[in-house]
């Protein structure tokens, strides 16, 4: 069976600078794949290029059997890719409920949307309590939950998560990683970008290590977690 997402020799960047050099990776259906690496390694650029926000300069991205070359971001969403982006990018003056509704922008099945809203509120009860409040007034952890729930509202086949643990209290991080694990158990494929390598490698099936825009190491997550070089470089040992 072909992979859900196949990235082949991807090159992209900003202005005159290439950030990614020949990145290749795959995500199979039902997998959690972690991408770890230092600040500036190109993790966010990889997600943004896959999502069509940043234009690929070379290489191919194939998602669910379709070549994404040149496709604009808003069309890629419709193919079944949802993203909780770096910095969460909540709509600050829309309410929590409106933020979630924006997540379902590509959908027209009203009963299905209402169902999924209930699911999100069950998953993150705090969002139900705050549903009338402006998104910008939520705490960082609540915004992260909102960003994930908003991405899920499009019913994606593949969920891209960019640093879901950044800046959050440890118990919130645990809560969010539990949710990611549960989502995956119910069949969601996840591409997870994290600086918190230990947490990411614990829930992931496979992992890619990025250094200055190149994949320098890839294996089963448990192997990566126990590799002495990775432990020294990313796990602070």
């Amino acid at each position: 069976m072909p992979a859900l997402l196949t990235v082949d020799k991807l090159r992209s960047g900003y202005g005159p600078i290439d950030v990614l050099h020949d990145i290749s990776m795959t995500v199979d259906a039902g997998e959690i794949v972690a991408m770890i690496g230092a600040n500036g390694a190109g993790k966010t650029t990889t997600l943004m290029t896959i999502a069509g926000i940043v234009k690929a300069r070379a290489g191919t991205i194939t998602f669910d059997g379709q070549n994404l070359s040149g496709a604009p971001a808003h069309k890629i969403v419709r193919l079944g890719m949802g993203q909780s982006p770096e910095g969460r990018k909540i709509f600050p003056r829309l309410t929590v409920l409106e933020n979630l509704e924006m997540g379902a922008f590509t959908r027209t099945d009203k009963p299905g949307i209402a169902d999924d809203l209930e699911k999100m509120f069950a998953m993150f009860p705090i969002l139900r309590e705050r549903k009338g409040q402006a998104g910008g007034l939520l705490s960082g952890g609540q915004q992260q939950m909102l960003a994930i729930a908003r991405a899920l509202m499009s019913r994606p086949k593949l969920l891209l998560l960019d640093e879901p643990s950044l800046g959050l209290a440890p118990q919130i991080v645990v809560q969010i990683f539990d949710v990611i694990r549960d989502l995956n158990k119910s069949g969601m494929s996840v591409l997870l970008v994290e600086q918190n390598a230990r947490m990411a490698l614990r829930i992931a099936h496979r992992a890619y290590v990025l250094e200055t825009g190149r994949v320098t190491f890839t294996d089963q997550a448990s192997v990566v977690l126990n590799d002495p070089r990775i432990r020294a470089a990313y796990l602070g040992e």
């Binding site: 999502a51 069509g52 926000i53 604009p72 971001a73 808003h74 969403v77 419709r78 949802g82 993203q83 982006p85 910095g87 990018k89 909540i90 709509f91 600050p92 003056r93 829309l94 409106e98 509704e101 924006m102 997540g103 922008f105 590509t106 402006a134 910008g136 007034l137 939520l138 705490s139 960082g140 915004q143 908003r150 991405a151 499009s154 800046g167």
Partner: protein, 322 residues
Amino acid sequence: MLLAVEPALWNSLTQYLINGLTFGALIALIALGYTMVYGIVELINFAHGDLFMLGSFASLSLLALLGFGGLGFTATMTDASSFVIAGVLIGCAILSVLFCAGLNFAVEYTVYRPLRNAPKLAPLVSAIGVSFIFMNAGLFWGGPQDVNFPDLISNDNLLGKDAAIRITYKDVLIIAVTVPLMLALTIFVKVTRLGKAMRATAQNPTAASLMGIDTNFVISATFVIGGALAGAASLIYAVSMNTISYQMGFQNGLYAFTAAVLGGIGRIPGAVLGGLIIGLVRSFGSAFVGEMWVNALVFGILIIILIFRPTGLLGTPVREKV
């Protein structure tokens, strides 16, 4: 003591209020175009006032074509029946709205869109350039002097010939056009799918793309709506003032831009509030301070308000937590 004020003064005050509100509503309609565009692409579209000016020349040309005079035409329309005039006005409204909406769309598509990812100064300077191009087009179209616009609507006082307070059909027209348009826009932005997409794009374009929103389409739609409002404003301005010129876009555009900033740029209710304040300041200012000080007064008040509320009266942005 206000209660001790004599009736004549009350009448004058009421009159200034009416004049201020009608002019303010007109300015507000133009200000909406500035504020919506700024809200979504953070561009001060300096050409917006001149777009408004070109809209009234488009109406004037249609009138000339229909035999209602044209450049140099001065007579009052007294011989045409009110049905004919209503039909002509509707024709002018359709033309000026489509003309301004189409022109604004074209400028966004050809001038601002290629500069979408350029430094902010580049589209700003381009907007000033477009403003001058429009103004020159207006100069070519109407000539350097003030041009009479056919007086299609009666100047009779609705309250009777000898009433102390004067409300004309023109005042009624301005309110009857501006208020429903502003309400419709507010509701549109609040409840429709496109309106929600506009708000989302204004607040975070990248996130909006990630929601499946075609942000280029949303930006085009914003320019089209802002242009359409300027077109509507251009016709009621010309019909009620009866004088247009290639320079009217600069002066009124500046008022409208100021109104948008005063109310909190990017905020639709802010533009309306700002427009009304400017209209009232102008009206009461020219009565009590003097015509020649009106602009100093308007901009003086702008500066004072901005010192105390730098984001404008209704501009209290919720800061995004990072």
